[in-house]
Amino acid sequence: MMNRVLNVFAVSVGLIFAAAPVLAHHSFAAEYDSTKPVKITGTVTKVEWMNPHIYYYLDVKADDGKVANYAIEGGTPGGLYRQGWRKDSLRVGDVITVDGFRAKDGGNHLNGRRVVLADGTRLFGGSDDGGPGAEAYGKK
């Protein structure tokens, strides 16, 4: 029984990293700067599980103690669902870490490529849009 329980868990984790169709509807470079990687840790303040891209927002405390809110674009809901994301994978109050790239138009807007969830689970969170490779972020 325990082996089966562990096997089911392994399947779930495997699903999270399994290759699956994700969105690619336009050039990454027209919006985001792959020369400007950003890694932030913050508290989720809002989640928009909507088409064409999910958005989630983080309050991030800077070194000087000031809190800035970041808007992070993720993949398409259907594509993320196939990879094991659910609409409550991110919840308001969760502390998460995001690796991503800054938007070219300035401001606190990122394309999020890799997410480490509150429980330590690592997910590829971006789109198959020609942006920095999913392979680099643990997506098979």
């Binding site: 029984m1 325990m2 082996n3 089966r4 329980v5 562990l6 096997n7 089911v8 868990f9 392994a10 399947v11 984790v13 495997g14 169709p21 994700v22 969105l23 690619a24 509807h25 336009h26 050039s27 470079a29 027209a30 919006e31 928009e48 909507m50 088409n51 064409p52 891209h53 958005y55 808007a71 674009e73 398409t76 809901p77 259907g78 594509g79 669902y81 196939r82 938007a103 070219k104 138009d105 807007h109 429980d119 330590g120 689970t121 690592r122 789109s127 198959d128 849009d129 020609g130």
Partner: protein, 267 residues
């Protein structure tokens, strides 16, 4: 590691439940099992959903089902050996100056006939003897290939279509679709290869096995391409998958953030 700590938490919970059953169970330890993951429950539905063998029906192979090939990317990299995408001088000038911030796909306009199939979203094929529908998850756009012997609309040149006009026939086990009259605002791929109203595609779809569909397509457009070129892409059947929701304008936030990104800067 994360997996182990979570797994042991999960296992502890399971053990607690098992303890309640211990008296009724055989007290011998369970036989060692292989470490393979438990199989997912088999999907219930049509053969093209479950991966079962289709019924043997006379006629051409049935391509009905959900397929995935991945995004077009740069089609010049998908040409058959010996084939090359060569731009005319005009085509080269357009390719070098195309603005990726103006990609029609970003503005939720329908992709052309090739780009809507070769997508990072899956496509569903719905096959009848007299018409075949290709239903794309991306933009929820569809195109139709008429198999009933009709020609293209006579006034097609005056009324081009975003998805083009497609008429098809079988050559053995290959569906051959003749596609013309494509609105010249489409891009044939993500990298920004554009085309004129004279683009003519000859598309060949062949099931090389039950779960593999080969797509071999020739693009001819003397305005943009110095010679016709042929690409090949492979589609894999997505067993247990379905076309999911997509709505381009539901919470669209990209358009306002786009910056002019010209030619190679966007690739």
């Amino acid at each position: 590691m994360n997996c182990r700590s979570l797994a042991s938490m999960f296992a502890s919970a399971a053990l607690a439940l098992l303890a309640a059953n211990a008296v009724a169970q055989n007290s011998n330890p369970p036989a060692a099992k292989s470490r393979k993951a438990a199989p997912k429950p088999k999907p219930k539905g049509a053969w093209w959903y479950t991966g079962d063998v289709p019924p043997a029906i006379p006629g051409p192979p049935d391509m009905t089902g959900v397929w995935y090939s991945g995004s077009t990317g740069d089609l010049s990299k998908s040409t058959l050996p010996g084939q090359e995408l060569v731009l005319t001088p005009y085509g080269k000038q357009r390719y070098e100056t195309v603005d990726h911030a103006k990609d029609p796909d970003t503005f939720c306009l329908p992709q052309g006939p090739g780009r809507q199939l070769m997508s990072a979203h899956p496509v569903m094929i719905l096959q009848r003897p007299d018409v075949i529908a290709f239903l794309s998850e991306s933009q929820r756009v569809f195109r139709l290939v008429y198999m009933d012997g009709r020609g293209h609309p006579e006034d097609l040149a005056d009324y081009p279509e975003w998805t083009g006009s497609s008429i098809g026939h079988w050559e053995g086990n290959t569906l051959v679709a003749d596609t013309r009259g494509i609105n010249d605002r489409t891009w044939i791929d993500t990298s920004g290869h554009e085309h004129s109203k004279d683009l003519h595609m000859t598309e060949r779809f062949t099931l090389t096995s039950q779960n593999v569909l080969e797509y071999v397509t020739t693009y001819e457009d003397p305005v943009f391409f110095a010679k016709p070129f042929t690409i090949k892409r492979v589609f894999k059947r997505q067993i247990g998958d379905r076309i999911m929701d997509q709505a381009c304008m539901e919470n669209e936030k990209d358009v306002k953030s786009l910056m002019p990104t010209i030619g190679d800067a966007g690739r």
